[in-house]
Amino acid sequence: MKTAFITSLVRLMDKYPDVITITADMGFDVFEDLQKRYPNRFFNTGVTEQASISFAAGMALSGYKVFFYAQAAFATMRCFEQVRLDVAYNNVNVKIIGTNAGVSLNQLGVSHFAIEDIGLMRLLPNMKIFSPGDPSEMEWSMDQAYKINGPAYVRFTKAGGTPIYSRKMKFKIGKAVNIKTGTDGAFFATGGLLSMAIRIVENLREKGINLSLYSVPTIKPIDGATIIKEAKKKKHIFTLEEHYISGGLGSAVAEVLAEEKVATELLRFGFPDKFTSVTGSINYLLARNGISIEKIEKTIENKFKKL
């Protein structure tokens, strides 16, 4: 994913002279070439996430489109007020790139996890949120972040580097991407866990449970129309994300369903409302929080057995 990110950024900087990149001292082994290539359009502002966001807003107020890069945890939470006021309220062209979202920095624990970031960014008017699930979604997200007028948040995890689509896709802001069609339920996944969702849906298919599968590369705006369309036809909706089930994709889907009053059951897979104060591999941490192919498959299977 990081490769797709840096390739996209370089492409944007090559093509558009109004692109500036700012990093709060992140990007070892990512930005070295860019720094050399664009010494006047690439700035490392040091470990100053708060002032860096304000600085980026100042540059955006002066006509630039500024990509700000930091660990997702520090790009959104350390400087939330600056994002809220200087970026979102001023409605300026600052595009926040949160790398290592979710539990990507698995060994470092909660301080370096970002499983609240989507929730926080969703609260802000003017903010658009991209959560790409494969390299092509990443490239598209970066292009869109550049093209839209106003703030954007692009978050990505360590997972998600495997290409999902065999052909060139036409993505659209606020549109979920239909990957599989099924009649028994609909599964919405976002970000790096998309490949896990595909495995789950494929395995379930072998067991006679046919789910539609959607990738959700834009969480704000959310594709309410598709969610409602699916919910009206099906009894079960599932969501999967590397984020707390509250605040992120699961919440967004729940809000759409609640307001539409459709009789469908929603089951959200993601991090429950507790801190994970142990270390381990990414897969270990996910599984410990109920996010594994086996666990999710079993849970969904049980749903259908009860019918």
């Binding site: 502002t45 100053t48 002032a51 304000s54 107020l61 007020e81 600056q82």
Partner: protein
């Protein structure tokens, strides 16, 4: 021309500004009169003598920028902007009224002359640093002036911005500190001591000047000095009096919050502010 005469016009504008601010604050039953009064002379001088701005073209990319980081002193800035012709004086009557865009904090909501939303503490300086850097990249001669409060020197983000500005040698940036020695809950040296303030800024590689912030001759000299500083940003530490200009509220912290009422207004009348 004697010194006295030299500043007569500016003094008159300052007085008129205070009159207008008082009427706005009383009409809206608003707070922050004392914070608005302590910055009057500096803002009058900036807008009359320093800033290269055109009210008819408020977004001219070559304009100088002023950010009122202590955005709660906004009634003074609104008054001055309207005086300069950025918007009609009649707008001022809407200050802090239902549905008005003239919010009690500097807000980037389409009011001509307001460059950014500032007033949550510690935002204006780093935003100004970003603008100053952008202007340098665009090879424009424009300058950026940011007025911050002494209380904002408590904020970490202020000092982050101070570091970035010095690192980039932004000599097109001048910060003015409204050092009125009061913050929300008490005297600055009792709440969180800022001294030695000048040496702090100097050690961060800024050129620092210290003045009495209500004296036009000192203000004039300080700005003149700042304009000639090269390769580093500059700061004017302006010793001011909170509530300056209305004797009954001067240097008393409750006027950060309260709206002048009968007793103070009688004094204001005697002092020509009503």
């Amino acid at each position: 021309m004697t010194k006295q005469n030299k500043y007569t016009r500016l003094k008159k504008i300052a007085h008129e500004t205070r009159r207008q601010v008082l009427s706005m604050i009383v009409a809206a039953h608003a707070s922050h009169i004392a914070s608005s009064y302590s910055i009057v002379e500096i803002l009058v001088y900036l807008y009359e003598k320093i800033l290269k701005i055109n009210p008819k073209d408020p977004n001219d990319p070559n304009r100088d920028r002023f950010l009122l980081s202590k955005g709660w002193g906004i009634s003074t800035l609104y008054t001055i902007l309207s005086r300069k012709g950025f918007f009609p004086k009649k707008y001022l009557e809407k200050y802090c009224k239902d549905g008005s865009k003239l919010i009690g904090i500097a807000t980037h909501n389409g009011i001509p002359g307001i460059e950014a939303t500032t007033g949550s503490m510690g935002h204006g300086l780093p935003i100004g640093v970003g603008i100053a850097k952008a202007l340098k990249l665009q090879k424009r001669k424009s300058r950026v002036f940011v007025m911050i409060s002494d209380g904002e020197c408590d904020e970490g983000s202020t000092w982050e911005g101070v570091l970035i500005a010095a690192h980039h040698k932004l000599d097109n940036l001048t910060v003015i500190i409204d050092y009125n020695k009061w913050q929300s809950f008490g005297r600055t040296n009792e709440v969180l001591n800022l001294e030695p303030l000048k040496r702090k800024w100097e050690s961060f590689n800024w050129k620092a000047f210290e003045i009495q912030g209500h004296d036009f001759s000192q203000i004039e000299k300080a700005f003149k000095n700042c304009l000639s500083v090269k390769n580093k940003p500059s700061v004017i530490i302006a010793h001011t009096v909170k509530g300056k200009g209305l004797s009954s509220i001067e240097d008393r912290n409750e006027w950060h919050y309260k709206t002048p009422r009968k007793e103070e207004l009688e004094v204001a009348k005697k002092e020509g502010l009503l």
